[in-house]
Symmetry: C2
Subunit: 109 residues, 2 copies
């Protein structure tokens, strides 16, 4: 998988119970498995097939991606923040290469 770090956008702090927007983007060619190389052989599928977001160890959002998902997959969703803590993000590709990232969020005083 690419050495590029995933890009994640979410607020640094939220009021208790606030809904926050979470944007994620990871660099990955998402080879579909349907293309052929110059010699006519199929290029093996290699895509990110799973994305998971946990907050303080509890799952919040999980996505299963299929071959028609774009290169550099972008996923956006909203989650409710009831306490300060850490979001953990995990991307897994067909070769079981795993990329993780963590972002902290504080509660507004």
């Amino acid at each position: 998988m690419s050495e590029n770090k995933p890009r994640i956008k979410l607020p640094k702090e939220a009021a208790k119970g606030e809904i926050v927007q979470i944007k994620t983007l990871i660099t990955h060619p998402m080879e579909s498995g349907q293309r052929k190389d110059a010699s006519g052989k199929l290029i093996p599928r290699k895509i990110i097939n799973r994305f998971v977001c946990e907050f303080n160890g509890k799952p919040v959002f999980e996505a299963h991606l299929e071959t028609a998902i774009s290169a550099n997959p972008y996923i956006e969703f909203y989650a409710r923040v009831d306490e300060a803590g850490a979001f953990n993000f995990t991307w897994v590709d067909d070769d079981n290469v795993v990329v993780t990232a963590q972002e902290h969020i504080a509660l507004k005083a």
Copy 2:
């Protein structure tokens, strides 16, 4: 589940191989199961726990949602369109109430 129709935005047509943005929003209270009613009893959890998008019968994107996801969940992602056809969207909640929607996309001449 609400009688409100889900809102879906995607282009009416795309070039072959084009990456299209798909935005989905459904009205649902997403009762977390952690709130109490006036008499102090827990209100049972009732959330949309699964969202699936298929294109011409093949899965493209599937999401598992947990209690921290916001009311009226919004999900955005990108898919590659290699042929004309229909996107089918399905939302399932804890009571197995299912909401479906379909959107067609054409290939640019």
